[in-house]
Subunit: 210 residues, 2 copies
Amino acid sequence: MPKQVDGEQRRADIADAVLRLAARDGLPAVSLRSVAAESGLNIGSVRHYFDGQRDLMRFAMRSTIDRVTARLEHRRSALRPLSELTPDEAASQLTDFLAELLPLDAPRRAEATVLVEFLVAARVDTDLTALAHEAMRGTLALSRRIVEALRLPPAVADLEAQRLAALLDGLTFRSALQPDATTPDVCRDVLRAHLASLGVRADPAAAPGA
Amino acid sequence: MPKQVDGEQRRADIADAVLRLAARDGLPAVSLRSVAAESGLNIGSVRHYFDGQRDLMRFAMRSTIDRVTARLEHRRSALRPLSELTPDEAASQLTDFLAELLPLDAPRRAEATVLVEFLVAARVDTDLTALAHEAMRGTLALSRRIVEALRLPPAVADLEAQRLAALLDGLTFRSALQPDATTPDVCRDVLRAHLASLGVRADPAAAPGA
DNA sequence: CGTTTTCTATCACACCTGTGACATAAACAG
DNA sequence: CTGTTTATGTCACAGGTGTGATAGAAAACG
């Protein structure tokens, strides 16, 4: 029975317990004792790997953000240039790409839900404000890149980026809190319709009334 | 010194203290003792008007929902028929109307922020789930009415209602949590642009490319 | 071997929570 | 007046929290 364990792996395991707990019972249910129980460790062990609750929370939120970011980056590398695609194909590809942010299946729902809880908590928790700003700026920056890829005129790029970011966060919010009302199908359809409505301006050949 | 006080007024005052506390320090900071302190009452008095914390929370959330609903109804009665307005005027009027939902000034920001906290808490708090569903269904129903007023084809009405609801909630979420990043001006502009983009389909005379 | 570091585990303490129970007092009813 | 209801306080208790301090065991080091 090896006693020397991988410290980073342990921290990740504990953070996972935090995320599982927060997703299932909400952030207020996350305490050092509940995390210890969820991870099968003793509270003393948890405290050995983290300076305290604040440190634990910061780490858990950071690892959530990093996980989503990594998944997006991975997806991004597999994107085909929009110039090779029809407007329809482009919309589909971008929908699948941005859907990585949405709570469309169990793991993504857990991530999105926990992130929403963290973002709300960060409003009054100064330990998390920096991470919250980073996360919010991230989806806005992502939206901005999408808007630029669709070659929207610069005059409306900022506005459309804000609109897309708000739509993404709104879909996440509604679907994470009430998945029976805002189902994964609704999320996909809404997102796709939105991207399509942006695309028609970009590609003159798609304008039906011309 | 009158001892016989208006019970309903007292309950409303206490609920106000809950909302102020939740807006300033977050829902987790709301306890019977903190509410008593915030409202200038004794904890015994608070407990005299409410059966307990659960009752207090339910009442506070309900009064928040009712307040927003009442403001919207009041605004609604002053709306001019869209048929009397140019598409531009219609978009402006609907923007102002729906802006009642957004955190554009201090009181509305407090309301929206508290509502977000309640909705998130309701995910795991069975006492609040019914109210949360009511609130979420409310903004969807409101969006639905807007979409119908814009005379969008029924084939896309459901989708557009969901999209508008998500946009409203997303703007609320982002602006309530980080008003410096999603400013009131951004909210207005985004909302107005969205309504305008819906309107062009409704009114053929506004189509520029025809 | 002994020493040191790493890891696990437990106790104790102060603090905060909701709530049951009770006392006190003011206002009203008869 | 007496009795009752309404309202305000206060106390105590069990349960939860983070954290400081400490102990013990196991692995790694010299």
